[in-house]
């Protein structure tokens, strides 16, 4: 059984009188795409934000590569190699694409100027353009404020940012929500590529066909707790929806037991990951 890369155990989180998470568990294995699904209000975004350092859990623990960790701030999560594409994108609308890509991680000018605090806008623009091109995000003017771009372009920037910086796990909260057909295809392909490079991807989505296309495993959250976990190959969409509504529970660990030889597309070819 592979050791989980990231694991949440018994997370409890309340906001005032609302108990968003009631002892939620979650597991992310290395090099996989795991989908986190659930009905509205199940606690998916809250769980992701807790693991990303935006919220602090009231109870519970988080383990990273087997060791307990404290993720108090987004910086802590970043240091572990965890990046997030939030549902609201978390972009600064008045800043340009390069500025957003490097937000909080600005490239400083070399030498004395850098130590005085001067940033290298040119370098940031160039490097972010490279990343956008690699990931197929088309922007007419990288110097324009992000607010002047379409929803799809903005989502593309947010996804590029997380993918570019992450070294272990990428959380994506409804990444295709605002996208058209072609862009959705790009993101799904991207998810596959990202996983192949050694990153784990956590995908929150309402879109079952998408989930079934890219995910290796599916974990179901209901009313702030994990109620089911499946290997994608073992289950049907109806079963998953059933778990979301409470008709079925399946919180065993059999989704972890079998080796990953069942995963489609990745067994052969030069890109096949080595075990």
């Amino acid at each position: 059984m592979p050791e989980p890369l990231l694991e949440a155990r018994g997370i409890v989180k309340s906001f005032g009188r609302v108990r968003a998470l009631r002892g939620a568990n979650f597991t992310v294995l290395p090099n996989e795409v795991v989908a986190l699904v659930g009905d509205n209000g199940a606690g998916k975004s809250t769980l992701v934000k807790t693991l990303a350092g935006v919220h602090q859990p009231d109870e519970g623990e988080i383990l990273f590569e087997g060791e307990p960790v404290e993720i108090h701030t987004p910086l802590d999560a970043r240091r572990l190699g965890i990046e997030t594409v939030y549902q609201d994108l978390a972009l600064a609308a008045e800043l340009d694409a390069g500025a957003n890509m490097f937000l909080g991680r600005e490239i400083m000018r070399p030498g004395v100027l850098g130590r005085l605090g001067f940033i290298d806008k040119q370098a940031m623009r160039t490097r972010s353009r490279e990343a956008f091109d690699n990931l197929g995000v088309a922007l007419q003017d990288t110097a324009a404020p992000v607010a002047t771009m379409s929803g799809g372009q903005r989502q593309g920037i947010a996804v590029s940012r997380a993918v570019t910086w992450a070294s272990k796990v990428v959380f994506m909260d409804e990444p295709t929500a605002a996208l058209g057909v072609v862009q959705t295809r790009n993101v799904l392909d991207l998810i596959g590529r990202v996983r192949g490079q050694g990153l784990a991807v956590v995908l929150i989505s309402h879109n079952m066909p998408e989930v079934f296309e890219v995910a290796d495993r599916i974990e179901v959250l209901r009313l702030g707790e994990r109620v089911a976990r499946f290997r994608r190959g073992d289950v049907s969409m109806e079963d998953v929806v059933g778990a979301m509504t409470g008709a079925i529970t399946h919180d065993t660990q059999d989704d972890l037991e079998r080796p990953e030889a069942d995963r489609p597309d990745q067994d052969v070819g030069p890109d096949a990951p080595r075990r």
Partner: protein, 344 residues
Amino acid sequence: MTDVTTQADRPELDDEQERPAPFWQRLVAGSSTPIGLILAALVLVFSVLEPNAFLDTANARNIATDAAVLLVLATGMTYVIITAGIDLSVGAVLVFSGVVSAKAMNAVGGDNWGVIFVGLAVALAGGLAWGLINGFLIAKAKIPAFVVTLGTLGMSLGASLVITGGVDEREVPFKLITTIGTGRAFDQIPWLVIIAFAVAIVFGIVLAATRFGRYTYAVGSNEEAARRAGIPVDRHLMKVYALAGTLAGLAGFLSLARFSTTTIGGHDTDNLQSIAAVVIGGTSLFGGIGTMLGSVFGVFIPAVLDNGFVIVGVNPFWQEIAVGAVLVGAVFLDQLRRRSQYQR
């Protein structure tokens, strides 16, 4: 950074696209250009109406000197408003800083650069103190900026009245008055104007080209996104308000040098004037947008109007109506231009 490459061809990096536009092109197309043009239009109008009076070197010098203190205030206010905040206490902090500075200089006694330096240090410290109080209450205690700075306005002005007994402090080292207050470089440009412009230029560069400046825009544009990106938002806000307070302190020192009295009653509208200057200059009250150059234009538009209306002979009671109307008109035009740019 994970390098994610595709099997498809990487598009050639287009050099032409990546080099920034030449300086003059950025200036012409820049966001503060329309306001600059409006300022130029006003100067033109008054020059045509009263060429001998308005276009005079001495008059230009007077306009600049009259605007110098406000320019220093507007520099700090630009940062504050870009973070989507506001600082109503600047005029009162200016008065407070002048008061404690004057008292300190009189306590030390003498008429030399040493005592002037003491006065400057005390003025800056006074402004910084109120700025930190503002920053702490806004960033940490999460009280809205409007409320906090309204409170510190009352407290700092009240403190000034307590310290002085309600009476202007009118003893100021003579050397201060003759050098910084009324002195000129090369016998032409008043030191007050040089200092004010130096402040605007330095902090304009910081705003445009440093990480501190970028964080200011980021926090104003989307505070939550900045937090999630790991930017220390609370600490940054404290620094911004501390800066505004310190600059108000400098402004108080400069005003003291110029008038040789603390002019307690003369700064009631400084806060609204500096906010108006910054907003006219193109900075959005909602945060994330603005330039220092715009604020400079924004300071000079009311200054030119005030001066021009007196020269042309507008009835003093009509002046306020006229200045207000032109202000609203100028911002309206700028908003129109912005909206057309952002439409998608």
